[in-house]
Amino acid sequence: MEGLWHTLADPLRFAFMQRALLVAVAIGILCAVVGSYLLVQSLALLGDALSHSLLPGLAIAYMLGLNLFVGAFVAGVLSALLIQWIRSATPLKPDAAMGIVFSAFFALGILLITLIQRRARIDLNHFLFGNLLGVSAADVLTVVGITVLVLGLVALFFKELTFYSFDPLGAKAAGLPTAELGWGLMALTSLTLVASMKAVGVLLVLAMLITPPATAYLLVPRLHQVMLLGSLFGVGASLLGMYASYYLNVASGPAIVLVASAWFGLAFLGKVLFRPG
């Protein structure tokens, strides 16, 4: 027991591990709450599209010496707008519009970062797979700030966002501004992705949005319960992933995602094996 305590507590003597801890807890909760809305609206693919689209924003912000988070957020919002534009102006299905936009954005991002790498030392892998142990104090401030902001907005507009997610037409008929709610949700998703990219990386962040809420969805019947239990799974995954990253010297993103997937696997097996009746 004491050995376990040392295993968990000793690394936290280091400032970089304390910063990692804060970010891990923040994104565990944030991703599960926002991801719950994506899950129930069947918008997992959109989350994936937006996350890949962050990359060129990161690269351009780096080239211009701007804040990376702002650059990534702008790119995320731009890609959402572009997807919506293609959908509304052509008969293409949403998945095709998303596939076209996110692969184009992602390709541009990779290209730009490769160009940057010729002049400066910048590790592409950190953006793709996350580097939780390398977050700076400024990163922590941004991530915690975004988390407080997004969770606050979800709490304030929970009943409207939930009505809209469940029955957009009914919500519109009742006089709710459904277009604004939809865009608001996209903006919250973009913010969440931006906050998570340093820890999990743009390639794998989708797993943090979808897997913990999906695990909770197998176990509890109401949306706010999915969010709460999903947060617990999310935080558990990001903390265990953080320690795996520390002790095994592996990228944090894959480690976190594998733990989250293990939770899901257990819940899924439990559901299949112990199904009543």
């Binding site: 129930v40 507009f157 029955d167 037409l169 009914g170 519109k172 009742a174 709710l176 109401r222 949306l223």
Partner: protein
């Protein structure tokens, strides 16, 4: 600023539609529909598949863009809080993580207002609405574990909780059991008797005769409006359906 618990008597206003035209891309879904839908009666919107019945209901409520024409309620543009809309059951994802109670409470979201919780009064109204459709015992049941008829009654309860002036239901009787159907018809009758506008998109012509006071027969254009006895005549129906229907009106 709280509303009184007992709803005020409705001013008897009609929903007046003039030259309503709706287009989906190149497809003309509705062409120059003009009609008056009066309060105090159950109005059925009937017609063949693809006639634009659901589209008409949505266009009346401003849920799809109009290409032309106008809709007025008591001379004014319709406002969201005046309307309770029940979508087709097939348009809803019933695996959504919500209980019966969660769904009925949605009927009070608009009334509670932004940044406010639904208060005790709103909860009381939602509970009464649930009792009224005979679903009080199912409060904590996940909506995915209800029968079709129970799901429809929960949505009707949500509409009742909205305390609207106009009730618009899209195919509420599709695939539901006999007891649920009876309850839904009874509640709609009570709403009409209380002076509300009640509009129902429906596919069963035989039932229309028994339950509707007024019928709009539609096939992209308005074929006929009147009492079911007037409208559901073979020669009128032929203009909507393009053929003589083997309709057993005595049923």
């Amino acid at each position: 600023m709280k509303k009184p618990a007992v709803s005020l008597p409705l001013r008897p206003a009609s929903l007046v539609v003039r030259d309503l035209t709706v287009r989906y891309g190149k497809l003309l879904a509705l062409e120059r529909i003009s009609a008056e839908i009066r309060p105090g009666r159950i109005t059925g919107i009937l017609g063949p598949n693809g006639a634009g019945k659901s589209t008409l209901l949505k266009a009346l409520l401003g849920l799809v863009p109009k290409e032309g024409g106008e809709v007025r309620y008591g001379g004014q543009v319709l406002r969201g809080e005046q309307v309770a809309y029940v979508p087709q059951r097939s348009a809803i994802d019933w695996s959504f993580p919500a209980t019966v109670w969660d769904v009925v409470l949605m009927g009070q979201v608009r009334a509670a207002g932004w940044l406010r919780r639904i208060g005790p009064q709103g909860r009381e109204r939602a509970a009464q609405a649930l009792e009224r459709v005979g679903m009080g015992a199912y409060r904590d049941r996940p909506i995915g574990r209800l029968s079709g008829g129970q799901q429809q009654r929960v949505f009707l309860a949500r509409a009742l909780a909205q305390e609207a002036e106009i009730y618009a239901l899209d195919e509420p009787f599709a695939g539901i059991d006999q007891p649920s159907e009876a309850i839904v018809f009874q509640v709609l009758r009570e709403l009409a008797d209380a002076g509300h506008i009640v509009m129902v998109v429906h596919h069963d012509l035989g039932q229309a005769l028994a339950h509707f006071d007024e019928v709009l027969l539609l096939n992209r254009v308005l074929i006929a409006q009147g009492s079911p006895q007037q409208v559901l005549q073979p020669q009128v129906l032929q203009r909507a359906y393009g053929r003589i229907l083997p309709l057993d009106l005595a049923a």
